[in-house]
């Protein structure tokens, strides 16, 4: 017998439901807020595959916004972050971008982790003529063929990652390389970058395993590495794939037999790995505990690290830095331009040299809006240091941005920008 709710309960429930749905908008806290704030939309991965990274980017955004608000905000108005979850799905990201632009009337946008989301959000923001600073999506296209006058990027590009690590690792270990490559766009881009490096230094590829999407077991690929006798194994996976691959590489004892490295690694996935899988030489985009990354005597950087660690009980990661730098520079540009108008803020952002929580100075390049700041290479310390279990990186080298990113001329072949 089918269980159909009785008529009265149903009508009551329907009535309550309708009232709830109709009145829902009233429950959304941000409506009826102080009208005179500067709203910045944050489309970020709070759930899904990228949640761990997204959470730290959000913390960075929030930190910078709070810092500015303590000083009275921008142009006399407080900064307000309107945070929406893209669920690690680029379609949702695009819809949320629409939402914050049309409904919340944000004056600028930031966020995203996955390259797909960066591209889809950039598409929406550029159609609307609203400034968007991509905080964490690495694909070259954001400042390449999909570049736009209103789109900027804080984190390093894929090209920068391969070139920062490639040159140094070849020097250290040799030029016979073996790749384990995720068989999709991102992996191919990394592979192409490394091939470019090898062509410049005369190296060889002794093996390249394309690992298809969804593979959780890397044993078959890892078993082939040692017999090929490479100088260096480059693992191009990221995120969960990298975790699986490294964990299994560790269990095969591969780290003791072959030098292992890669274009980029982050603290978040490393913290989720057992010590015997934490090994190798990797590109890193920022680090909380090295003079090479923070800059000697950089009081601001040290203050950021100290305050953030106290507030969140965890040291800031590169993701936190992306968030912080992005909002900080956005606010600075608004203050300089004395307006929140996207065109004027974009003009104020580009080209301006500034120092922040890292070593040296940087600027958002005028021709493609990529943030030109250094990248570093580090060796992993499996167990951290005696006083600090988080301290996994021993930073050994730094690469300057103009040496690792494509030149303006090369970029001009794919990127042309037109201001309205």
């Amino acid at each position: 017998m089918e269980r159909v709710p009785n008529r009265r309960t149903f009508i009551k429930a329907a009535g309550a439901g309708t009232a709830l749905v109709a009145g829902f908008p009233a429950f959304i806290p941000r409506l009826g807020e102080a009208a005179d704030t500067i709203k910045i939309g944050i489309v970020e991965s709070e759930t899904g595959t990228y949640a761990a990274l997204g959470e730290n980017q959000i913390k960075g955004f929030q930190f910078a916004a709070d810092e500015w608000n303590k000083r009275g905000g921008v142009l006399g108005r407080k900064l307000e972050l309107v945070i929406e979850d893209d669920a690690s799905d680029p379609g949702v990201a695009a819809q949320k971008a629409h939402k914050v632009i049309d409904q919340d009337k944000v004056v600028a946008l930031s966020g995203t982790i996955s390259s797909a989301s960066s591209l889809s959000v950039s598409g929406v923001s550029s159609s609307a003529g609203i400034l968007y600073i991509d905080s964490g999506g690495h694909t070259d296209d954001v400042t390449g063929k999909a570049c736009h006058w209103s789109t900027f990027r804080t984190c390093h590009s894929t090209w920068m990652e391969t070139h920062a690590t490639g040159l140094l690792l070849a020097k250290k270990f040799g030029k016979r390389w073996y790749f384990i490559t995720p068989d999709y766009a991102f992996g191919h881009a990394l592979e192409a970058g490394y091939r470019d490096v090898l062509s410049k230094i005369g190296g060889t590829i002794v093996g390249n395993d394309l690992v298809p999407l969804g593979a959780t077991d890397f044993s078959s690929y890892l078993a082939k590495v040692e017999p090929a006798k490479p100088d260096l194994l480059l693992v191009l996976q990221q995120g969960n794939d990298a975790v699986n691959c490294l964990k299994q590489a560790g269990s095969f004892g591969l780290f003791k037999k072959v030098a292992v490295g890669g274009p980029q690694v982050e603290l978040e996935p490393l913290w989720s790995l057992p010590p015997d899988a934490r090994s190798g030489f990797w590109g890193i985009e920022w680090y909380y505990k090295s003079e090479l990354t923070l800059g000697r005597g950089n009081a601001r950087a040290h203050a950021f690290v100290a305050d953030y660690s106290k507030r969140y009980n965890e040291p800031p990661t590169a993701r936190s830095a992306f968030g912080y730098i992005t909002i900080d520079r956005m606010a600075t540009a608004m203050a300089e331009a004395k307006t929140t108008d996207s065109v004027k803020v974009a003009r104020a952002l580009e080209g301006t040299r500034f120092s922040s929580i890292f070593n040296g100075e940087a600027y958002y390049r005028k021709e493609d809006h990529q943030l030109m700041w250094p990248m570093w290479v580090a060796e992993i310390r499996p167990n951290g240091t005696p006083g600090d279990k988080y301290d996994l990186f021993n930073v050994i080298d730094m690469a300057q941005p103009d040496q690792i990113e494509q030149t303006v001329a090369e970029k001009a072949k794919v990127c042309t920008m037109q201001y309205p």
Partner: protein, 340 residues
């Protein structure tokens, strides 16, 4: 519902939908979300046809949805077609997909049908991911909104314009759907759901009916997908993923499987609910899962289905969508089927 009342209700619903963009600012629901509701509704209508009317678990519709989006996107990117052409090509792509895998699906019924659909969908998903040069891979494919293609008017549709475009297509789709399910063809599908063996004994080739139903279902999903892709100006592999298929099935059941307007109700609740809840809390997925669970346990007939039963009307009450003439508990029945 009598014919005239039904027509009046339908007209009222469409009128309300037409007011969407006007109401948008006051109800704080973006026009692009409204377009999404309609696109998803069309896809769910495809599921409804297979699940609600024909009694087959349609778990592969995201594959056709995604094919529609990619078809439209590829044609825009490579051939710079106009909006109607892009739509047509998207729909044809899904249709072709259904022609390709249909014969395989036809061999099975029940849950095998559903699982085969998922499997083929996953193959399309992997293809979209792998062939980056063609599809943009996991970065997805950005394309611009196509032009209207009208000789005098070289323009593209903005948000509100696109919503009305989608609404017109939705109206046509639901009209076609209504005519289809009331036709002898539609009646045969319902007969197949109730007892396929009996239909075959009557001399009808149930396979052919199911195949056509599958093609129509895929076409609807493709239409929804092409519209959605053009809404976002973006196509990406997750549109082909089986989780989205599951969402379409939920929408169909939530609204009322086997009813005409069920998919719209389900889609509105799902899309708008998800959008609003995810703004309020990052824990929205728990609410979504809870809705799934509650719907299955308490409202298996969905909202319109339960409403129809309550109001006691016999014509639109979906003849119990998922139970044929059974009286025993399913496990016993299940075992009995095995036994003999």
């Amino acid at each position: 519902m009598k014919g005239r009342t039904e027509l009046a209700v339908s007209a009222a619903v469409l009128a309300l939908l037409a007011l969407g963009p006007v109401l948008s600012p006051s109800i704080h629901i973006d026009v692009s979300i409204m377009s999404e509701v309609l696109a998803y509704t069309i896809a769910a209508m495809g599921v409804n046809l297979l699940l609600g009317y024909t009694g087959l678990p349609a778990f592969g519709n995201a594959a056709f949805f995604g094919l529609g989006a990619y078809g439209a996107g590829l044609s825009i990117q490579n051939w710079h077609v106009h909006v109607l052409e892009a739509l047509l090509i998207g729909v044809l792509t899904s249709f072709a997909g259904a022609l390709l895998i249909g014969p395989f699906l036809l061999r099975r019924r029940g849950i095998y049908f559903g699982l085969l659909a998922i499997a083929f969908g996953q193959v399309f998903y992997f293809i979209a991911y792998r062939f980056t040069d063609l599809t943009g891979g996991e970065d997805g494919m950005n394309f611009s909104r196509p032009y209207l293609g009208l000789p005098a008017w070289h323009a593209t549709l903005d948000g509100t314009g696109f919503y009305y475009f989608t609404l017109v297509l939705f109206a046509l789709a639901i009209l076609a759907f209504a005519l289809l399910v009331r036709s002898p063809f539609g009646r045969t599908l319902v007969a197949i759901r109730q007892n396929e063996l009996r239909v075959r004994y009557l001399g009808l080739n149930s396979d052919r009916f199911i195949f056509v139903a599958l093609l129509v279902s895929a076409t609807l999903a493709g239409l929804g997908g092409a519209l959605f892709g053009m809404l976002l100006n973006f196509a990406y592999p997750l549109l082909l993923d089986w989780h989205l298929s599951g969402d379409f099935v939920l929408i169909s059941i939530l609204g009322g499987s086997g009813t005409l307007w069920g998919p719209l109700v389900g889609s509105a609740i799902y899309v708008i609910g998800k959008d609003i809840i995810s703004t309020i809390t990052p824990l929205w997925q728990i609410f979504l899962g809870a809705i799934f669970v509650a719907c299955v346990l308490l409202f298996p007939k969905g909202i319109l289905g339960s409403l129809a039963v309550l109001l006691g009307s016999s014509r639109t009450a979906p003849p119990d969508a998922h139970e044929a003439d059974r009286d025993a508990a399913a496990p016993a029945q299940f075992a009995a089927e095995r036994h003999g």
